[in-house]
Symmetry: C2
Subunit: 310 residues, 2 copies
Amino acid sequence: MSVIYDRVALIGLGLIAGSMAHAMRRAGLAGEIVGTARSAETRAVAAEINLCDRITETAAEAVAGADLVVLAVPVGAMAAVAAEVAPHLAPGATVTDVGSVKREIIEAVGPHLPDAVHFVPGHPLAGTEHSGPRSGFAELFDNRYTLLTPVEGTDPGATAKLRALWEGCGALVEEMDAEHHDLVLAVTSHTPHLIAYTMVGVADDLRRVTDSEVIKYSAAGFRDFTRIAASDPTMWRDVFLSNKEATLEILGRFTEELFALQRAIRTGDGDHLHDYFTRTRAIRRGIIEAGQDTDAPNFGREPAKKDGPS
Amino acid sequence: MSVIYDRVALIGLGLIAGSMAHAMRRAGLAGEIVGTARSAETRAVAAEINLCDRITETAAEAVAGADLVVLAVPVGAMAAVAAEVAPHLAPGATVTDVGSVKREIIEAVGPHLPDAVHFVPGHPLAGTEHSGPRSGFAELFDNRYTLLTPVEGTDPGATAKLRALWEGCGALVEEMDAEHHDLVLAVTSHTPHLIAYTMVGVADDLRRVTDSEVIKYSAAGFRDFTRIAASDPTMWRDVFLSNKEATLEILGRFTEELFALQRAIRTGDGDHLHDYFTRTRAIRRGIIEAGQDTDAPNFGREPAKKDGPS
């Protein structure tokens, strides 16, 4: 693999940007990787673990002379960062982002950018429940999809180059328009996260079942929800506020179906329940066949330790 | 470890009974393990993989001379199996079950059993999304809780012996009353399963997002739900029909919270969302500290394969 961008600037040094740094190094895709973060502590950790070739104090310094600028901050912070870096962008540079919503980011970031740069919004569909500069790893994007949502009139060469970078990072890359992206993600990510947060909140809040019981008996299903409900609160607040319409649409559908199942329980309609539960198995098989999840029982979690909790 | 029961009869040879057979052998807890299942195919597979010391065609034959009888069939089939085996139970034998609800099983099974046997209902909180006689493994119960719900007047010696068996299988054992069990499980298992089934059903049913998109982009969160939504449909139909009240109570609380979050999204109340998402992190930490889940990112799923889907 050869160098695709001479200098990549990472604005924000969390899980995604950190994993990009590792993945770009693994394949030698960047001449130099420059990073910055608003928090001095994050910058210090990144420097300590040698996450980038160079760490700058400000985003303006980071983007100077970069031919790729990656905005990797929470959705709600994108506009301010774009405004800050805009005057310092090199002509001909490409600006991209890794935000989980696309229409609102295009509206927030686009107007700040000078005509002489290419803006190619992107979203790697990969992550873990961990966050911060130490959480990144080179394999995060392997065999996972990255979606690019270039707006009309974008230079196809700039899009192709960014695609090559993501493919070099291990990702499968597809293009779609921003509206469709936001609907698809409302289904595959945003609504599932909201539901998981809700379920964990309910369990935490009951008087008749203690937190200690919820924790001890979580292996019966509940613990699966707690992983995504442990994701970064700021990131997710911004996602829901900025993908409001699509999330509310899917939530409406969800509530409708949930009420139908609830009624089936109340009226004892076992056939309805059995049919529904049979149908949902096919999607799991599809996901495993597509290489998007493991077939190992319980996600291949390590077998429980025999010595148990203390 | 020494033999606790001279002859254990397993009625039903799915994931739980199969794992019990492996775990009892690992520790030498049973003199003889006799198994049976209604389906001839299941019995043939069990014989082929040598799951038990002896396979019988009928439940009546299986329980003859057994000092422990384990009912490991779907909740809805418990009463019929109890009626079938009752005349053949050895005096002084213990009967237990592994069903996911307890009050309705006690009401369904109890009246069939002769006075000369001990009935100690139980529920191992362990499982995977796989089912059938090949899905069992000895480590399934290690460091997971098994709940016993003995009814008033049960011989403490019979309960203690069953507890010793479960502990020998690796489990942590606790006792509680059946009503409380059913409420706790509605929170930690039944409602999470129903919600996961619902979310997967919604995704499968949308016109504007294809199944193929749902599958490809599932790593953004959705895939976590598909695992428990791939569980056995018959087992889960029976669980919801027989733990109706507690499930509907928790579902009501869930809907209430979901509507509050939905309103926060609609009105743009970021503080409400952020506070809620921060609070739910603590439960995840508790579960990891209690040894009930792994701290590895993404449940320690194998890193994605670099060669990708074909």
